[in-house]
Symmetry: C2
Subunit: 480 residues, 2 copies
Amino acid sequence: MAKTAITPTRNQDFAEWYQQVIIAADLAENSPVRGCMVIKPYGYAIWENIQRIFDAKIKKLGVENAYFPLLIPLEFLSKEAEHIDGFAKECAVITHHRLKKGPDGKLVPDGELQSPYIIRPTSEAIIGNVISKWINTYRDLPLKLNQWCNVMRWEMRPRMFLRTSEFLWQEGHTVFETESEAREDALKMLNTYYDFMTQELALPAIKGEKTPEERFPGAKNTYTLETMTQDGKALQAGTSHYLGQSFSNAFNIKFLGRDNAQHTAYTTSWGISTRLIGGIIMTHADDDGLVLPPAIAPHQVVIIPLIHDASTANQINAYCADVQQALENLDIRTHIDATENSAPNKIWKWIKKGAPIRLEIGLKEVSESKLTLGRRDKPKPEKTFLTLKQLNEIPIILKQIEDTLRQRSIVTRDCCIQAVNSINHLDELFNRDFKGWAVMNKDLTDTPVFAEIAQKYSLSRRCIPQEGYPQNSVFIAKSY
Amino acid sequence: MAKTAITPTRNQDFAEWYQQVIIAADLAENSPVRGCMVIKPYGYAIWENIQRIFDAKIKKLGVENAYFPLLIPLEFLSKEAEHIDGFAKECAVITHHRLKKGPDGKLVPDGELQSPYIIRPTSEAIIGNVISKWINTYRDLPLKLNQWCNVMRWEMRPRMFLRTSEFLWQEGHTVFETESEAREDALKMLNTYYDFMTQELALPAIKGEKTPEERFPGAKNTYTLETMTQDGKALQAGTSHYLGQSFSNAFNIKFLGRDNAQHTAYTTSWGISTRLIGGIIMTHADDDGLVLPPAIAPHQVVIIPLIHDASTANQINAYCADVQQALENLDIRTHIDATENSAPNKIWKWIKKGAPIRLEIGLKEVSESKLTLGRRDKPKPEKTFLTLKQLNEIPIILKQIEDTLRQRSIVTRDCCIQAVNSINHLDELFNRDFKGWAVMNKDLTDTPVFAEIAQKYSLSRRCIPQEGYPQNSVFIAKSY
């Protein structure tokens, strides 16, 4: 068996493999704050690319960024009954606004607040309260806001990127005159996420609607993108909620309509988070480490100078710099690894960090005006030789890599979706330790016997797919 | 007296004028969360421009962005004695991690934490703890990190942008092998801020060093950019701290040196925040509202269609779209105000919102292939007529506007700096309600009699200027 960079492999221990990929790529680490992670520079650069690409998409749709307070007064959260029930068990609560030295000299909380605040787990409540004052007539609608921020949901079983007490996300909040506009917008955002995930992120996402027990607290409909991880589980990668008038009623979001009468508005909300990075790892990474879709790779091309002899260093470095410049002129994010490591160590490093393309440049390449190219989507020994003139092909190769990742992940997904016809069939399937999703008629799952089987195997209803499957189907899977 | 858009004027009531400028430009508003503001889309777009420009500058300097937890364990904060003394009185304290229904049905905190957390007022403590594990040898240095995030310092007397309990900022944290490298870097960041403030933001910033009582808690030296507001006060617009080994000692940031012995590292930190937007308002805005430096204006050019007759609307709108396209090809952020408001209302709106250039386009402009141009740095009636070919001059005019703002603010500043030779002189000056800064020999201010006068007039030592004033001078002023 070939030596791999990550121990254990995916087959040996998927959960531990996931942690090790993150460590080997230097993306993040657990922090001394319970359930919170530190996002290291290479991991954060991926998030910056996600932000940049998605921010441009929503701005094109007329969404404006804003910023609302981190803290939410407790009484706001209570105004929407389902909402508070959904989040009460995972709220960080601020009760004091200063510290003092206690009798033993240790610091203790001081300045108790009359009414506590919670750190936003999501911002429907504070935004609902604030924007109700911004909206007077139908001329103020639609209102389409978004914020990029941190949120906190106290997490007892954290897992880096996938489930952390604090995470970074965007949360869009829109307000409309009519139900149909709001419903349409919730679906439009679902499609915007779908395009982003399936194109730039090459994720095998499936669009669907959540069943009631999986809805966002307070939502009328929750639409979701579910993506399959390589161990056959489901990962909720983004959601878009049609909130109806729940929050408008709770926060008095009313407007003078075209008919000169008062109306209650219809709202939506939608979000994606740093969890997406977890999804990218679990979908594309392999036993040699991270594999990044080119659109979000911090460096799309990494140049590795192969310097065996100090006397040729200048010549090789100059050639590397020329290649970097040529690639940057093509808008390709290019990095030269000028560290002191050995060439094989550098090559392994960038394999583990998932750089889509490595260019190895030594004296041979310089003298022949060539490049030795390694692709992260191909086995490591496989290399291609390009001439300098062929640098123009690099954008095409990056596109090919994206296509490979997308197609590969779709094949993996579709191989692991199994139609089942009965609860017995479902039981048998997961009794055999099936690693994948079952798809079945939803009516069969609206039953106590389904609930029993679901509990037995830790399954849940992931979504009712929007297309590609029989009407009224539902996916059943283990999930992250 | 000419009618002005903002009531009261700067002379009538500067503090109230400031609030009204923010409201008239729709930048922000106070929120229902004590001391916190909502940054509205137009205000946030200014912050996005500040982030984009400054982020590019620090990335060029080799600084990498990362993200560290929002919460800081109480015991971390206590490790640096001055640091905790400086922030203990303004900490938001998290004591519980969930909510439950109390006996009266109301929600109350539940799940008390063994040890409380505070929301970061700044991140030296958490970053110091984490990066101490990243640094093993001198090869791991220098380490240059930055994060864009929210921080919280509980504020009893909030003022939008200038002083709010929560604010947005960047905090840079760097670690070096030697004192001289760290000192050099602290000054390099001071200069980077200076260039940004005096160039793109056209602020009349002065570089200097803080006297001990104004230093960042835990710093050896705090360097500052002080800028003068139009009411003659000082505003600290950014700081860069040489932290020596204070935090390295507290958090055990050690490395194996080139001499194969263990050494303690030297650190710096530096930050600018949404406060800068307050500084921009207080420096450049006038009695008609906001005046934005072009580099950070959400829209550098606003096109106002003058449509008096529906039959010519298409013709005028098409011409406006052509002009917008031509300007965007020149990389100028251009907005067409297609709202239903009347033309005079639109013109006033964009004056109040501080758009650097307004282009009014009606039938006359279309038929003559011309543009009517209004500059925000000139009195409102003053207009210039450009031909379509002269669109290429718009970038030059934007540069001229920036220059005007810069020069005007420097003149205002320099007129309001008064040299004084004695404490008596200082007393007399502020007794006459002087609106400006005094500059005097620092030795005169290291005295109890200075402390008395300072208290009498709410003055403080703002900084020891780096250049342009006699050695050992210090500025004395009221401040925001």
